[in-house]
Symmetry: C2
Subunit: 330 residues, 2 copies
Amino acid sequence: MYVAVDAMGGDHAPEVVVQGAVEAVTEFGVSVILVGDEARLREILGDRRIRDRILTAHCEDFISMDEPPLKAVRKKKRASIRVAFDLVRDGKAEAVVSAGNSGATVAAGVLTLGRLKGVERPAIAGVFPREAGPVVLIDVGANVDCRPAHLFQFGIMARAFASSCLGLRDPKIGLLSIGEEGIKGNEQVRLARELFEKSNLNFIGNVEGRDIFAGDVQIIVCDGFVGNVALKLSEGMAEAVRKMLSKDLRSSFLGRVGSRLAQDSLRNFQEKLDYEIYGGAPLLGINGVGVVCHGDSSPRAIKNAIKLAADYVENRLVEKMSTELKELLD
Amino acid sequence: MYVAVDAMGGDHAPEVVVQGAVEAVTEFGVSVILVGDEARLREILGDRRIRDRILTAHCEDFISMDEPPLKAVRKKKRASIRVAFDLVRDGKAEAVVSAGNSGATVAAGVLTLGRLKGVERPAIAGVFPREAGPVVLIDVGANVDCRPAHLFQFGIMARAFASSCLGLRDPKIGLLSIGEEGIKGNEQVRLARELFEKSNLNFIGNVEGRDIFAGDVQIIVCDGFVGNVALKLSEGMAEAVRKMLSKDLRSSFLGRVGSRLAQDSLRNFQEKLDYEIYGGAPLLGINGVGVVCHGDSSPRAIKNAIKLAADYVENRLVEKMSTELKELLD
């Protein structure tokens, strides 16, 4: 099984992407097809090419971060993200990983592989590390404006994802709003709430921003604008906290002594706040596996995202999601 | 100068509110008028009534957390939040503090004191603690749906607030979106961006969720839905981080030793993440000073919110905001 990696996507492509892919192959035993400018890829790979485990697929073009996604995807047939999804469509790979323009990844996925039946808008699911186990936030950026029915579909997709890939049975689903009372929130949220209440999903009602970390909800549904702000805010805060903590502990003598003694605890703590362990976020609702990474992903993040993509394939995510959608929407 | 305190507003009213007010009077030397059921207030106050420094104003009614704000404010003329603003209108107090239904606080403020010229929608400004100094997020909950012109006005109000009350000179203003590129974000954000670009404000363009903690922007403009989610998310995360940290450090022997030695650093660190030091968030755009607190505010949060309200009055926040609005909108 091969994972197609968009080697030209991301702020530090192709070097960092190739590095992450090599690490994934070495560490996790997955196989990859690097999609991009073959001459450059070969140069970066050097003697690290592992026979049959790292292939390359050549393409001339790529989509940059600031291009309008839909237009670029339609126009650039030989862009790396399109060629990557073509490999999946043609049965040569089983998943796509990209740190490039996430709007373009969504558009290319939909255009090439199509949507699952019952899904109007594919969405990106962000997984947040939490003391009490992970929480899934959906959508974290694929859809800026959503209708209530879209939000409801996001809930179903995230449920299938959480049960097949995160081991969460009948996860509790909440709708992100600005007050737990039903009357609060905007029109979109109020109408989506009705759809969830009529369903047989484990819907617990509205949740608030604080429940992402403090609540016992396991899936939180919101539109892609709010979700993207929330995801990036928490990543930024986690980073700020880690920096402050290191600095504060180093700044006093007692802190220095204490810090050394407490370093195991601190490392443990910092790992819990570390978003790189997830590496990427699954694009749900297309007829295939896609994983979206940050533009500024490190090799470690890319490596973990490739592992995730392989896991989703092994867990038959798409098949299970398709079944759940059928059951819940029929 | 008296601060009118809505003693019946909040999850733990009136006990916790009265406690916070007493602490504010004792610690900061401010004077308050507690608005609510006088018999109950006197009972709670007991012998802590400080002559002339803690007055009471009786009213029979209050607005609960789950009432539709506008309707309740119009109907309940003798609700504590309305009577509190009446005291300001009648010159008996100079600011209002409430931990009650925040929508009702906004509605009562507008109804009783009116809006400043040029302001269509008053907004609540959240102040986030940060290593590099505070950042103001506006709106954090007064307006669920906003037009581009409202977002622009939020920026002007926050600027006046930041310069008069936080000592930030010509603060950098960013528009919260889901990508730094101008083409990203929803329609509302794209149009608001044009208004900011045409102005002579220190506008730095779109910012993302991560910039709230990691960026050097000082004012971040967004609608009240997104802002409320962001505020509560970061509060929830700060709390989760503090809990995790204490637990992790206690859980290992080395951690325990280290923790004791590093306790000064940790306390310092935890205080940086402590939202209670701000206590409340200013309601900007009404013709007077209002401070909105969390429903579950502690006495310490209430105490600090009362101090803030008094500071805003002393800093002549409303007068300065009025001048800036006139200059920038004429």
